[in-house]
């Protein structure tokens, strides 16, 4: 005890002279770090936390709006109850949305990894293909998404016959449908689930290409950062490209798979064209703000759980080349 007191005494006494002189580098850097992230901290406390608080508050209450002011009456879990049990379509939309995402997410991950590997190879016109593949990232967002959703011109131009032709298909159409991918796969006897999965991916290829731009960028960056020396030594040791992919590329890129998995989940859950989001927006526009807020909180909790689950599963397989912190 006495020792403690002494130390404290000296600690109190010492700074009077030393305070200006020495602040350890670590502490100075820590302080600088806080200053750098300060905009976010301020924003989070001043803007974001009130938003979250208010949003949760809304989901538990009924809003009344006056001319100059507004207020809320606490109603407990009523809005959540309404969203889950009274609303006729919400649960169904939620379940079907989750099911379709369970299909889409692996497809997007595999596709973007595949395309990133393709784009990483030396070939003619690589720069052109790269810039084409990244077009959807910058152009097919926001308003363009809703324009594309309402674009009946696209399918009209696609169709082989006129729009008001009720006869049921021309010869070219029949030819195409007889060579249909579904038929091809069905004849291969590989099980209907796989067939429907693959055909749904092929049918949905536009959506998948559109949504895998950022993931492709991240994978490409991961691939670029693998040292060529590793590949070279692999080649010298006589590994085939297949082995090289699974023993080198895949482990080295696994942190990116984690990042992309999480990002894809977040991105596809929160995009405006997501069916659940569309439904929530419809409810919001219909005037049931409180219920729509409750719905999106339910949705958010599910997303959180999924993200946590995926992060936990993936991070078990992630390989880090070196850990610096």
């Amino acid at each position: 005890m006495t020792n403690d007191v002494k130390i404290n005494d000296s600690a109190v006494a010492a700074p009077k002279r030393k305070r200006k002189k020495i602040v350890s580098l670590d502490r100075r850097k820590a302080r600088a770090g806080w200053i750098f992230v300060l905009p976010f901290v301020i924003g989070f406390v001043v803007v974001y936390l009130p938003l979250i608080y208010q949003s949760i508050q809304i989901s538990f209450s009924e809003i009344w709006m006056g001319n100059d002011t507004y207020g809320m009456n606490f109603v407990g879990f009523q809005n959540y109850y309404d969203a889950l049990f009274t609303d006729p379509d919400f649960v169904q939309t939620l379940l079907s949305g989750l099911a379709s995402l369970a299909f889409d997410i692996p497809a997007i991950l595999i596709f973007s990894l595949f395309m990133a590997i393709m784009l990483n190879q030396n070939m003619a016109g690589r720069a052109v293909f790269r810039s084409i593949f990244f077009i959807p990232v910058v152009l097919s967002t926001g308003i363009m998404e809703s324009v594309a959703a309402m674009d009946n011109l696209n399918s009209y131009m696609d169709s082989a016959e006129g729009i008001d032709d009720g006869s049921g298909g021309s010869t070219s159409d029949q030819l195409v449908s007889s060579m249909d991918l579904q038929m091809l796969f069905a004849n291969m006897k590989v099980g209907t689930e796989l067939v429907t999965y693959i055909t749904s991916i092929i049918n949905n290829i536009y959506g998948i290409v559109n949504r895998s731009g950022v993931q492709m960028l991240i994978f490409l960056a991961g691939l670029q950062s693998i040292s060529p020396a590793i590949y070279e030594s692999c080649k010298i040791d006589g590994a085939t490209a297949w082995e090289t992919f699974w023993k080198i590329t895949f482990p080295m890129i696994s942190p990116m798979i984690l990042v992309n998995g999480v990002y894809t989940v977040i991105d596809s859950f929160t995009t405006e064209s997501n069916s659940v989001m569309v439904y929530v927006q419809e409810v919001y526009n219909a005037g049931d703000d409180e219920i729509s807020t409750a719905m999106s909180w339910i949705y958010f909790i599910i997303v959180m759980l999924l993200v946590a689950l995926i992060a936990a599963i993936f991070s078990a397989f992630v390989f880090y080349q070196r850990k610096n912190d």
Binding site: L51, L139, M144
Partner: protein, 403 residues
């Protein structure tokens, strides 16, 4: 896949050559090859399994790449084709992608009748300012997370990710209320006589005296005049007891941008953090040795190095703000001149085309008008992308994300 096959074939090709070598002479292989007759050499080169495989792979890859490029570009092609068609082309079932009656009526109508250019100017102002602010803020935040160790760093970074995970639709009603009654930690409310409130409990409830005291504080004006006028009338921000009404200005988006809370800013912070991590610490250490402070090091050493990544983030922020309709419809609903934005034009029909649209049974012509407006909206982005796409790839390539 390609490399795998080539290696197999190299292995295959080497076997017979080795046998030859042992039978005939000990000269190096390429010398032997050089002395073969031309016919034999061509045969060896083009009739080999190796060459065939290479060609097949090349064709396969090209077909795949061109096919996917086609999928990406096709919607734009149909939009362009539709936008230059005359109305009668939509009734003619033989017309598909190539118009019979070429016409620029839609473009003319949209550009002259819809105050397109003032909307373009406003959208540019908004997108440019928010994108610049977002880039700078995310650089600061990303650098803070990348290079400094401080207590609570990981939790803070999780919070950054959280702002990205919570869909902004969840917060849309809260945002609607918040930006119509904007208040920083209750300061406006306090200064306007609203008292101090914690989680629904107000200080005023303590007693009459306290209530009259707090209501006596009323030092804010009812309105703050702004610098522009609409139809001869001064525009002003209203100050209510619940806060300032900043909807219908750019302020909400600017506030979100400055604090790194705008659309997908979590992603930018993540990308920039990874980029800064890839920059060796020695650079900064030598700058510190030379007497630079942390901030000066950041501005003079780090930022010039990270221009490709900053351009990438700027491009994303700019384009995503340019085409954003969620925030615009949520916040900028008013008729003020400044809320005349490009995305609001979508779905409107120019007056001179109204008759044609109403006489079109299939609805294709109105779709075509909407598509044309969309094309005009993204035209500046295409130009920007053409200039920046090199940076985009560069920035990503040098980011060393896997570390």
């Amino acid at each position: 896949m390609n490399a795998q096959n080539t290696e197999k074939i190299v292995a295959l090709n080497q076997k017979p050559k080795k046998e030859k070598k042992s039978k005939k002479d000990n000269r190096p292989l390429h010398e032997q090859y050089d002395q073969l007759p031309l016919k034999e050499r061509l045969k060896a080169k083009f009739l080999s399994f190796y060459f065939l495989q290479k060609v097949v792979l090349w064709i396969f890859r090209m077909v795949l790449m061109i096919g996917i490029s086609y999928i990406v570009i096709y919607p734009f092609i149909t939009k362009i084709a539709g936008s230059i068609m005359a109305p009668e082309d939509f009734l003619d079932i033989t017309v598909r992608l190539i118009p019979k009656h070429f016409s620029l009526d839609i473009y003319r109508a949209v550009l002259t009748e819809m105050n397109f250019f003032s909307a373009l100017g406003n959208t540019f102002m908004l997108s440019f300012s928010t994108a610049i602010l977002q880039t700078l803020t995310c650089c600061l935040i990303g650098y803070g997370f990348a290079k400094f160790k401080f207590r609570g760093r990981n939790i803070l970074f999780l919070l950054v990710m959280l702002t990205m995970i919570i869909p902004h639709q969840t917060l849309q009603h809260a945002m609607y209320l918040q930006f119509r009654n904007f208040d920083i930690l209750g300061i406006v409310k306090f200064l306007n006589g609203g008292g101090i409130e914690f989680f629904g409990w107000n200080v005023k409830e303590l007693g009459e005296g306290v209530k009259t005291f707090f209501e006596g504080i009323d030092i804010l004006p009812d309105e703050i005049p702004l610098w522009y006028e609409i139809e001869e009338e001064q525009v002003a921000l209203q100050i209510k007891q619940t806060g300032i009404n900043i909807a219908n200005t750019y302020a909400p988006l600017i506030i979100l941008s400055i604090t790194g809370l705008a659309f997908k800013n979590g992603l930018y912070v993540f990308l920039l953090r990874q980029f800064f991590r890839g920059i060796p610490d020695e650079l900064e250490e030598s700058a510190y040795m030379d007497g630079c402070g942390t901030f000066r090091t950041f501005v003079q050493i780090i930022l010039p190095l990270s221009i490709p990544m900053m351009v990438t983030v700027f491009l994303f922020a700019f384009c995503w703000q340019w085409t954003d309709d969620f925030y615009i419809t949520l916040i900028n609903t008013g008729s003020a001149k400044s809320s005349d934005l490009l995305v609001k034009l979508v779905g409107k029909i120019p007056e001179s085309l109204q008759i044609t649209v109403s006489s079109d049974p299939s609805g294709l012509y109105s779709t075509s008008i909407r598509n044309t407006i969309a094309l005009l909206i993204i035209a500046p982005l295409v130009v920007l992308y053409a200039f920046c796409q090199n940076f985009l790839v560069q920035g990503i390539e040098h980011s060393g994300i896997a570390n």
